[in-house]
């Protein structure tokens, strides 16, 4: 770890959704604030800033993490993915995003980016999860609108379609 001085700004550079980005941050700046207000990537949301709600979840070096519990400078040199990186191209949605839309798995959409990031990662490692496993996995996220039922349905539906797609590809 390089030594940082508390009252200076430091250059923070990482790969975000496949592109190199950089900006200036004081050591105390949260990664959420850096993503949202320095880089303008407002898709990552802030619901509690104390690590409980999961709205701020992003993927860091392949692992889901709470951006509100990290400093921007800690992400220097890492590979990040955020909700803005999930869709294959503008105007198209990923299978998981499509499943969310079909099942009405979002209402206000504020919790959604974090849940999508977690599930996107989870379904890669767990292509054929049981409903109970999905529920337990989702306990790391708070949603106040949906009652979770359609989120679970969307996750299972997306898993099935991802499997189908894999099968047709092989």
């Amino acid at each position: 770890m390089p030594r940082l001085s508390a009252d200076a700004r430091h250059r923070v550079a990482f790969v975000l959704n496949g592109r190199a980005v950089e900006g200036q941050a004081e050591p105390r700046m949260l990664l959420t604030d850096f993503l949202r207000h320095v880089l303008g990537m407002t898709g990552t949301h802030v619901g509690c800033e104390h690590g409980v709600c999961g709205a701020c979840t992003v993927e860091i070096d392949g692992v889901p993490a709470r951006a509100c519990l990290m400093l921007a400078v800690q992400a220097d040199g890492a590979i990040l993915r955020t909700v803005e990186g999930l869709a294959p191209e503008p105007g198209r949605l990923s299978l998981l995003q499509q499943a969310f839309r079909r099942h009405h798995a979002l209402q206000c959409g504020f919790c959604t980016p974090g849940i999508l990031m977690s599930l996107d990662n989870y379904l890669r490692d767990n292509p054929d999860p049981r409903e109970d496993d999905v529920r337990i996995f989702l306990t790391g996220h708070l949603c106040r609108c949906t009652g979770y039922v359609p989120i679970v349905a969307a996750a299972l539906d997306a898993a099935a379609r991802l499997r189908e797609m894999k099968e047709t590809q092989t």
Partner: protein, 803 residues
């Protein structure tokens, strides 16, 4: 009714979702601000009750990046207190002026170049407190000699009113049984995942404020804010962002902070942005009321209820903020629930304590009322050894009685409660659930079944809050009634259709349903219609009832959109008649075309007709330029309270019958919901997917209220639920998939026959779960939340007692 093509009633994908799923939502904190915008942080009281001797702000004002520090002194110099609904000597400032009355009350605002610097400076402010005794228990606040929060009031009772309908004394005297319940309903809140946020600006040249906020209405509060800021309404421009991260009523509670930050912007001379953090939200934003209720019934041997006697003590916290005490009066016309009970007496007291001020919250008064009423119905069955279902059935309002006027003045629009219940029992499998309970009990497991029937009111009468005033006071204040809903449909020069609504959506999908309605009326597809959900009081049509509360979207707003679309269609048909040479009655709108009925070749594209009065107004028939249609609609059934204090507080009344089975872990005290069945009659269903979403989301809130959530206070007024690790929300493992059933009794009072559906389960589910737990434990008295500790105490006190 909608055209036969029928977009409405289908669960189409929402127009909102593509943006929200890709991180392209536009919530308040995602919007750009003017260069030079400052950021605010609030210093909040650590004392529940104290006089403030002095506030030392010099060091903070000199701290790096700080532009201004604002305290009660500046605020009281530049504004007036927020006026309460009651004429009572209450000091309604948005910040402490000389005294703090709850933990979390704002004491000072720092505005600085960024939020980090503003929070740094908060640490440099010194407050010299002179602590006073704190009041947490609303009954203690009633005691003579109790410390008072607002000295000029002379006590802690802001209002004490008694009501009498029918002949309750005679009914109680004649009835063989008097059965009562005592309830302490806790404080909780629906805590949207997006917190409050705003950007305020002041133009000194025009003495005008501009506030962009994720406020959700009711916009009657615009008048309260303008008055506090000492300007006419046309100098207060309120705007809402395109997206908002949930509200459930809670974001009404932004009002005091909107006024506070408007003053901060004025003092700083620059725009001020404030995004509430979660800790602030929990400790200091707004809460549902807690309530102490004693409810007694005069009952016949067979369980028929002849009269009710309500005694409600409503705890609104430290300030009575408009529209409170609305939580207490929203249900005033519905105190008899789904039952035909003609004799009622009520005493309502509104009490101030050292807690966060209360405000709107999903269910709004319904949870408190139905918890008492439906616990009582179960107690009646228990005491008279009757089947709880029979007690419900025997008291129901009969199907041929609608529209039914309740004893206290509510007008129940439509329904067939008996049929809905029989259908639920049958399709939901109540018999199997009872059999499950018996066999589980035979194995020694602790299981119970709960039932509840409730009427879900929706679309608030703007006059109901006046029921808190005496008829004499109401006469002096002037009449208040109705509920203006509005919609505007505009045609652009390309013939495309844009709809503006004033319902301040918070994620429910209003824009999708509006597109469906207008597409049906004009023979277009929802994709052809653009719907604007954000509201700007300087530009859009709106009125005091505008906003997102009392489940008014489907019955009132969607209905008004429908009326506007029909009116626009009629005017377009008139215009097309001249162009196609057929009478207007022969014109139809189908598949993007306007054509002569029976002669589809005599047609023109819709867009061409819709654009024509932009390009060739000289050709307009009868000089009617068809460019835009704005409709205001208010239902005549929403009259002001009469001299007998009868009030129809809400326009629509949906019906819900729920039952559930729970199993309790004897060792841990955990409650597991094994099955939940919820039958709804919300009139016509406009979008089944969204209706299911409202029901399931409401159920989740209610499970939280029943089992986990409480805005708890220590005896000294310290707040005990300050993080999401202390205030526990249900997660995916705590919310079972409910079986949702429907019957449809369209409302005769709304344009589309729809009724509200957003709040019902917050009313029915807490008590349904409590009834199941009471059944499992043989408990008579039970207060929420039913935490493991509470359950374990009940289990140990029951050991040895007869079930």
């Amino acid at each position: 009714m909608a055209a036969a093509s029928g977009w409405l009633g289908r669960s189409i994908e929402r127009v909102e979702d593509a943006a929200l799923l890709t991180g392209r939502g536009r919530y308040i904190d995602d919007l750009g601000v003017l260069p030079g915008t400052l950021h605010a942080a609030i210093l909040r009281s650590s004392h529940a009750h104290a006089n403030i001797r002095a506030i030392e702000t010099k060091a903070a004002a000199a701290a790096p990046g700080v532009a201004a520090v604002i305290t009660g002194a500046e605020v009281s110099a530049l504004s007036s207190p927020l006026v309460p609904v009651l004429r009572a000597p209450l000091e309604g400032w948005p910040i402490a002026v000389g005294r703090v009355r709850y933990v979390g009350e704002p004491i000072a605002v720092v505005v600085a170049a960024d939020r980090y610097l503003a929070e740094d400076a908060l640490d440099l402010i010194d407050v010299d407190y002179d602590p006073l005794p704190a009041l947490v228990d609303p009954l203690a606040a009633l005691e003579p000699g109790a410390p008072t929060l607002h000295d000029k009031l002379g006590s802690n009772v802001a209002s004490d009113r008694s009501f009498r309908y029918g002949d309750p004394e005679a009914a109680f005297a004649a009835a063989p049984h008097r059965i009562a319940v005592d309830i302490r309903y806790p404080r909780n809140s629906c805590t949207p995942i997006e917190t409050f946020g705003l950007v305020a600006d002041y133009d000194a040249g025009e003495d005008a404020y501009d506030i962009l906020a994720n406020f959700m209405g009711p916009f009657s509060l615009h008048a309260v804010m303008a008055r506090a800021l000492k300007i006419p309404g046309n100098r207060l421009r309120l705007r809402t962002p395109p997206d908002a991260g949930g509200s459930f009523g809670v974001k009404q509670g932004l009002v005091p902070t909107m006024v506070l930050m408007a003053i901060a912007a004025r003092v700083a001379g620059r725009p001020v942005k404030w995004i509430e953090d979660r800790l602030e939200h929990l400790v200091g934003s707004v809460s549902a009321t807690n309530r102490v209720t004693r409810l007694a019934a005069a009952v016949d041997d067979d369980g028929r209820v002849r009269a009710l006697d309500w005694d409600q003590v409503e705890d609104v916290g430290a300030h009575l903020r408009a529209p409170e005490p609305a939580t207490l009066y929203r249900m005033h016309g519905n105190l008899t629930g789904a039952y035909d009970i003609r004799n009622v007496t009520v005493r309502n007291r509104v009490v101030l304590t050292n807690k966060t001020p209360s405000g709107l919250n999903r269910g709004f008064g319904g949870p408190q009322v139905y918890y008492a009423l439906e616990r009582l119905m179960q107690r009646i069955a228990g005491e008279l050894r009757l089947d709880p279902l029979d007690v419900i059935r025997r008291n129901l309002i009969p199907a041929d009685a609608f529209p039914y006027r309740t004893a206290s003045g509510g007008l129940l629009d439509s329904g067939d409660y008996g049929r809905a219940i029989e259908k639920a029992i049958d399709e939901g499998g109540l018999a199997q659930l009872l059999a499950w309970r018996e066999s589980a009990r035979a194995e020694g497991r602790v299981c119970g079944v709960g039932l509840t029937a409730v009427v879900e009111p929706s679309v608030s009468n703007m006059g109901y809050i006046a029921t808190v005033l005496t008829p004499e006071e109401r006469r002096r204040a002037g009449p208040k009634n109705g509920a203006q809903a509005t919609a505007t449909i505009a045609l652009d020069p390309g013939g495309a259709v844009t709809v503006h609504i004033a319902s301040a959506p918070q994620g429910q999908g209003h824009r999708t349903v509006v597109a469906q309605i207008v597409a049906d009326a004009l023979g277009l597809t929802p994709a052809d219609i653009r719907v604007i959900g954000e509201l700007d009081t300087a530009r859009d049509a709106w009125s005091i009832a505008s906003g997102n509360y009392s489940s008014r979207f489907a019955p009132a707003v969607a209905g008004t959109v429908h009326l506007a679309a029909l009116r626009l269609r009629a005017r377009l048909a008139h215009s097309a008649a001249g162009k196609l040479n057929v009478p207007a009655e022969e014109i139809e709108f189908v598949g993007g075309k306007v054509r002569a009925r029976g002669n589809p070749d005599n047609a023109m594209p819709f867009a061409r007709l819709a654009a024509s009065d932009h390009w060739s107004p000289g050709e307009a028939s009868d000089g009617d330029h068809v460019l835009r249609e704005t409709v205001f609609w208010t239902p005549p059934q929403l009259a002001a309270p009469n001299d007998a204090d009868e009030i129809n507080a809400q326009l629509c009344h949906a019906f819900i019958f729920d039952f559930c089975g729970v199993e309790i872990d004897r060792d841990t005290g955990a409650v597991r919901i094994d099955k939940y069945v919820t039958m709804h009659d919300c009139g016509r269903v406009l979008h089944p997917g969204m209706v299911a979403g409202q029901i399931t989301g409401g159920l989740a809130h209610a499970i939280g209220a029943a089992l986990y959530e409480e805005y708890a206070y220590a005896p000294d007024g310290a707040f005990l639920a300050g993080t999401f690790a202390d205030y526990l929300l249900p997660t995916a493992t705590e919310v079972p998939a409910p079986l949702i059933l429907h019957t449809e009794s369209p409302s005769p009072f709304t344009p589309l026959g729809a009724k509200g559906v957003g709040e019902g389960n917050c009313m029915s589910t807490p008590v349904c779960i409590a009834n199941a737990v009471a059944d499992a434990l043989g408990a008579a008295t039970l207060d929420l939340p039913l935490t493991p500790t509470k359950i374990c105490t009940l289990i140990s006190s029951r050991e040895g007692a007869a079930p």
